[in-house]
Assembly symmetry: C3
Homo-oligomer: 447 residues x 3
């Protein structure tokens, strides 16, 4: 049985263990201070695993773009992780979590997180606070970076660096935290609709997807991507790098979902984290197999590696809304459906002439919606109504703000490379150097 | 549903701590519930580290194959990890661990693992079960994936995807679990011969190696690999990727060997895991240096990077059968011998005109046999007789079943690309796209 | 055989928790054996994260060198990690930690670490020794490997493999341990000057930087790097690999700094580790943004990806001397300054016609000095005088010994490729094969 909300879940689970889910005698339990260390450790391990996902996005995207844009996509990825973290520190974290009640559950207080607080100053009350506050902050921060990472892949090969970084700053500092406050901050979506999103199929992945969708609509497709209404394939430059990126993301997802249990200080919590690991893995595996079969169907017997990689990710996104309550069988079904949805979703986007370079929207938005809707099938505390309200509210908010922001940027500073710049590639036009000067000599800068 | 035990060592170590290896007073010990959390955490950390090895194999193999086969080897690697996990869930785990006694120690009961079990349903009895069952399952599952990974590298550049995936499904669902039941499932090899294989030099690595050997015998060498009886080198396409893969595997091996201690709930266990980490690292380091020197000898003063990378892996494979009882000095010797064996083993295979693309057989089979035979030198509970029985029994079983399976596949659906397909590469012939379309334009699909 | 203590901080923190920083009642505390497991686990997790940094250096350097030297840099990286570990085992660890008092705090006793000790032999006294000795050894060993990794990048593309490996052996076995003994071994620098270097801005990073500086002075610049006194850019061959390497290093740095707390057995320690994680991350993020802006300034509005990657690393190096006492704001400032210093430091080196292929010296030496000097700003126990003494003493010692060693090697066996070898590249001249035979056909060996 799972907590309605994420951060307060901690308390609920503590209560569970008090009332005897655990067979051990009382004097054999985990001491409060030991639990504090376990909980903190979970956040730290989960945090470094999710931080590593930033490398996964970077490699996935570097592999899926063409060589002439590969350096700039690397710069965007390391830059967005940094900017998102700084903005989340400056205003985002407290906008999401601090005194959300005071605004009726709409948003918190946008001040820097713990500005004067260090380990030495902190009074550690292991009973009241079950974990080190910096460990929680670190774990929350890497989530916002993930949201931002989703955007960069979709808008690749034509967005300007500066405009992209400004978008990321607002996304991480304002847009993500406000919708996050509604649910994980204990706001209106959590308290009034019983919306349930364990680790963020909607709050993280769909949010990134909506922001990306607004971007690609306003940017338009890459030059040459659609000719006379027909799509022209633009092959990713390095599928081994894209494969590496996918494995990195899968690996990091154990932290993403597992540490979203938010506690490891009891046998019940440890058991929950273990179940989450198993379910997360099997949903991804099922996503791979389903996307392999689906892409063979679409390709007249020939599978597409890009589709299979995205199938893994879609399986992961789909199970993220509820990785705890499904059985393994159910996790497999949820993940497999995610893989199929992403595969056909990519076809749909192409039909709509929307140019998503890496398939971020089918993976993170479409499979994220599916995963969120699937929660009530295994978690009796969630309802289709509540889930739908959450999906729609978050989607409307994030899409409209993102659209307005991209639009503003478009008119004020411009968001797209001009045709010449796009033709020679973002690497030369925006950085003046290339990613692979010896491999692809035509991308080499003139000396 | 839990197996009665996973690897009998768990019990042995519990007894050790009962009889006072630990100097702390009783009231200062680890509480049962705390131990449960530690044990579960060890499985989870070990599990994600070993999962990451799948990325290591993918990069190692993508780096060692030629560019025209690089996409398909990536697909095989992510696919095999997924299929192996699904099959191990569906039948493998319980075939390996459930009621092995009932068949006289030959095999267990091939039903899905814990089909209706979730964390919420599970009654957590911290005294009877020292860890979350899903954490153990996850850790065991990533081992079977490793076994499957070993095969893909050896048979690369000519095996058909479909046949390969079917082979993996049977290997992970049937072949691996049965031989695993003999030892880690508490079967005949464990109970009657005192065979000892701590983390799987034989059960995992040699098993993968035997399966690979059967494959390359039936597949035959790549076209052009041997001309007029002389070997023609076929250089790996990206040695930096192969290097990355080697580092990933080394990193993941700390989970592979360290978490095979199966417990972290006492000072004795923690000390054991630490010793395993140190020994594992030093065996690999010694494998590197030994292979460097050996390959300089073979190369008239010029070392070969591929040999050095395989030396690291051979050192790791060699120490895997017993990473706990050796001193560091002994670990260095065991690893160094592994590195030399793999280097000369690769020459031997070439003399036999067996075409192992990545050197999987010298590394995983030859060094695995060496490591298994070396156990009695440091572990008085093992005997050369028992080790030999285990090596021969597992080898005969795995090789003959694998041979029969590859042979059946060969006649029923075919296992090898035809000459034209092989010439244009698996990427274009099986997937219709290439791994590096801009870098190696001759592999680019016609539009 | 155990050192009396490793890094005196351990003691200080124990005292802190005794005197009631922790609000929990005594009976709710962490039991000694539980603390032993936590402490050991911290070393093991920290250790595998820092081990992984070896892969980061390998990828960073493989990405920054030109293709014709990419295989040999990979070989150097896996080789140096192995050699450094073996030498640290054979003499380095005890030279750094064993009986340093006996020499008046100058150096310890250069005998192998724990030669006859295994987990089974060890008497575990959880009260006297708070962690498994092998876990501490493993963690210390990966630090020396980091030091050696710093050198390989600076001297790339022209140093001979053999000479480089000999240098590494002496660096890891003698030079690093002696200066380490002064501080972390409890020697004169620690006891008489209150020098403070939490995780090694000076002891690890500057040491690597000084060793590298001596090397590039004696080696001279690559042929063609400076023509008529003007620098000629030599572009790195694969910026995505360099980006991957940077992310790997960032990821591993959580272990580097976090586990340098050396204890996780109390709420105070867990809180400290959490603060270190947050500060480490934010210093790196600030380094990225600062280097991005600085390199845009230098590049007339065009940023340089290489500078940005080095900015991240410089931020990490800068915070390494004191990641615990700064607030997040302070960590951001320290990291940002590091990023700027590395960016302009690279320009300075180029002005001096010093050829540091990957920018190791600006990142590890210059930002390391900065980070060490910044300690007193947030840590009242440190003084500018003490910090300066440490920087100068370590610098003079490491630079002069390194210079003498490189000079000796130069006259005895030669340290530099001849011009023909350099022109065809280290891969073909030293290994006889190339890193990318299909991608860059001109590097392919003649059959």
């Amino acid at each position: 049985m799972m907590p309605v909300f994420t951060r307060p879940r901690l308390l609920a689970l503590g209560v569970l263990s008090l009332f005897g889910l655990i067979a051990a005698p009382a004097n054999a339990a985990v001491s409060p201070e030991t639990a504090y260390v376990f909980n903190t450790l979970l956040f730290l391990i989960g945090g470094f695993l999710v931080m590593w996902m930033a490398a996964g996005f970077a490699m996935l995207e570097a592999g899926f773009v063409r060589t002439k844009h590969a350096a700039v996509i690397c710069l965007k990825n390391i830059g967005l992780y940094s900017i998102a973290g700084l903005m989340f520190f400056l205003i985002g974290y407290n906008l999401m979590y601090l005194n959300v009640d005071a605004t009726g559950g709409i948003f918190g207080t946008p001040i820097p997180w713990g500005p004067s607080e260090t380990a030495a100053d902190e009074t550690i009350d292991v009973a009241a606070n079950g974990y080190a506050s910096a460990s929680d902050w670190f774990f929350q921060m890497v989530f916002v970076a993930t949201t931002a990472s989703i955007v960069s892949g979709a808008v690749a090969e034509r967005v300007r660096i500066g405009a992209f970084f400004i978008f990321v700053a607002v996304l991480a500092g304002v847009i993500y935290p406000i919708q996050g406050a509604w649910e994980w901050g204990g706001g209106w979506l959590d308290s009034q609709f019983g919306f349930s999103d364990f680790a963020g199929s909607t709050l993280v992945h769909s949010t990134g997807g909506w922001a990306a969708l607004a971007g690609i609509i306003l940017l338009g497709a890459r030059n040459g991507r659609f000719v006379n209404g027909k799509p022209v394939p633009m092959h990713g430059s390095s599928l081994p790098l894209a494969t590496l990126g996918t494995f990195v993301l899968w690996f990091g997802w154990f932290g993403f979902n597992g540490a979203s249990q938010l506690a490891l200080g009891s046998a019940a919590d440890a058991t929950a984290v273990a179940q989450i690991f198993a379910n997360t893995n099997m949903a991804a595996a099922a996503g791979v197999v389903a996307a392999y079969l689906a892409s063979m169907g679409l390709g007249r017997g020939k599978a597409n590696l890009g589709s299979v990689l995205n199938g893994a990710l879609a399986g992961l996104v789909a199970i993220t809304a509820e990785p705890l309550t499904p059985t393994i069988f159910e996790a497999i079904l949820i993940g497999a459906a995610g893989g199929v949805i992403a595969t056909f979703g990519a076809v749909l986007l192409e039909r709509l002439r929307l140019d998503d370079v890496v398939g971020a929207i089918p993976v993170h938005l479409f499979a994220g919606i599916w995963g969120t809707l699937a929660v009530p099938m295994t978690n009796p505390d969630a309802t289709f109504l509540g889930q739908s309200v959450g999906i729609i509210a978050v989607g409307a908010f994030v899409f409209s703000l993102s659209f307005a922001l991209w639009l503003t940027l478009k008119f004020v500073i411009g968001i797209r490379l001009n045709s010449d710049e796009e033709a020679i590639g973002g690497d030369l036009s925006e950085l003046g150097h290339s990613a692979y000067p010896e491999f692809v000599p035509e991308t080499r800068p003139a000396e």
